[in-house]
Symmetry: C2
DNA sequence: CTGAAAGCGCTAACAT
DNA sequence: ATGTTAGCGCTTTCAG
């Protein structure tokens, strides 16, 4: 692929018979600089004739702005989440002509060696959006100390840390439980994994919503499986063997777990939603494709991306801004409840 | 976020008591340039002391290399595909220290106005990877004419066009059909959409594999639904009403359609795989989460990304390279067949 | 209203 | 073995 030399603003200037400065003025519509209509036309014509497009790298260099922001995700995140969030980020970026640089941070190493942070130090990006389940506290500290503009978009964070797009699922949770209650299902269990501190918030939300709805909270209804999500069907098997039945309704910690519960119910011949109502917390592009379609409580992914990005720009531009933003989840009933 | 001025190579030079050139030499390990161990140490020490990291923008500018490639996807693509491909691209990029710039092209407009192409013209990226179901022929022409380094990664393309990572599913298809035949299912239908020229290849592959396996091809077995994927259950309803039964085995055009067929079967009380075997063409992260888990014929997404990226680099660097690469699909049996 | 000139941070001849 | 120097393509004072 031979490099056909691209014209520079200098070439355009020569072609139009003006100076380079003038070219810059008209092409950027620099405010406060008046250009005679005649010269402006000449420049535009020359640019078109030569097929000129400004070199963004040179521009970046001069302006000392990378014109790009980095987006990182820990790989465990469902792709659906990330893509939806990316769409939101992109739309927020569009009017600014910024681009998205995808970063792939290794999860284990110290954050100062993460690709995203290296990119920032090298001026390749102006800020970082972490789409993480959880950013370690030491990483927060590091980023703050080094004045790296960043925001964290997540749905699991327990504490209210700064630079964060948070979300509130309490109301949606109550709406969901109420719909169960109205359907006569007074016995609502929670199914999740034991060792998942990032998702604890969901369990606590469940407990809180239970109380708000006047529903009983019993030990038997807290189904916390040991091990990994892949093994949850074994847990259900054991639970079923012990209790000889499933609760009337089960709220699942994640969509993945919801699907597995659906699998289990189908295997056991438990009909959903007649004998068992299932609702999962979290979005999935598969929700409408399972049988029955999975009712979910969804986080506003697109909006999280959009606002997160705006937050980041406020940080980059040093504008005063509230550094924690909260968005609402919503209950989307489908066939399984 | 106040900009704490970052040190430049000049600062490092001053600190180490050497020239800027020397700094560049040691930091880049320029081949053919010998530096006294002593000075090298001094430079390294100074860099560490000042917390110096080279400004990649300036470097890009000088080198006339953007150090980034653009990746575009038409939004209809399942996210799973894209993410897997991105991982492959990333790994191919890693040793080169190139980054990924995500581009979002509008699907309808002319390609010369697409973001990816604009980024290329502006020197923000050095080449483009299109993860497209189909790139229009006029777009191919445009890209070639303007000498834009690009490759297309897709699984649907009918014709053998250049700069493409292709794939061959014939063998995998035969393996799948054979496994059906061995299970006594001699009647294998194809379920897909009518108006989907990009996916026609799959249908033709089915026909070919059928012949190769000595299986009959009947009109009744070609289930081509009108309308969109969302409406396929209605089509199945009609088909069922007309024939009073489903074929013994059905090969689905895509994973999404496979899931919908599973839904339909569950609703009708048709047991899978006993009464009906289901196999879908395409990868999905939900294959293991449906009930029963969906057997699929999967394309080598990661490898497609990886090789696609290498192909692109050959183009960028002007190396001679075969411009069409073919990778093999593979059959992954699960519970539904 | 427009031009001349400086310089962003880096690399690579070319000198020494 | 290292230093000098000249730009890369752009924006932006500062003059005119």
């Amino acid at each position: 692929m031979e490099k056909t030399k691209k014209p520079s603003s200098r070439d355009v200037a020569r072609e139009a018979g003006v100076s380079q400065a003038t070219v810059s003025y008209v092409l950027n519509n620099v405010p406060g600089v008046k250009i005679k209509e005649e010269t402006r036309e000449a420049v535009l014509a020359a640019a078109r004739k030569l097929n000129y497009y400004p070199n963004e790298i040179a521009r970046s260099m001069r302006l000392k702005k990378a014109m790009s922001i980095g987006v990182v995700s820990d790989k465990d995140l469902s792709n659906f989440r990330l893509m939806k969030i990316l769409e939101g980020i992109k739309d927020a970026l569009l009017p600014k002509n910024y681009s998205i640089t995808l970063c792939f941070d290794k999860q284990n190493g110290p954050i100062e060696q993460a690709e995203s942070v290296r990119y920032y130090r090298s001026n390749r990006i102006e800020g970082i959006i972490f789409v993480y389940t959880e950013l370690r506290e030491e990483d927060y500290r590091y980023l703050h100390e080094h004045k790296v503009p960043f925001v964290v978009i997540n749905s699991h964070q327990n504490q209210s840390l700064s630079n964060q797009v948070q979300n509130d699922m309490e109301q949606a949770l109550i709406t969901a439980l109420l719909s169960l209650k109205n359907a006569g299902k007074e016995e609502v269990a929670f199914l999740g994994l034991q060792d998942r501190s990032p998702l604890d918030r969901r369990f606590r939300g469940y407990l809180k919503a239970l109380a708000a709805c006047g529903l009983p909270a019993e030990e038997r209804l807290c189904m916390r499986a040991p091990g990994k999500a892949e093994e949850i069907e074994e847990y259900l098997e054991a639970y079923y063997a012990e209790h000889q039945r499933l609760p009337a309704a089960i709220l699942c910690e994640s969509a993945g777990i919801g699907f597995r519960l659906l699998r289990f119910a189908a295997r056991k011949g438990v009909t959903v939603p007649e004998q068992l109502s299932v609702i999962a917390i979290g979005s999935s592009r598969f929700s409408t494709l399972s049988y029955p379609a999975l009712s979910t409580i969804e986080n506003p992914l697109y909006e999280m991306g959009y606002t997160g990005c705006q937050l980041l720009f406020n940080l980059i531009e040093g504008k005063p801004a509230q550094s924690i933003i909260t968005l609402e989840w919503r209950f989307v009933p489908r066939e399984s409840s």
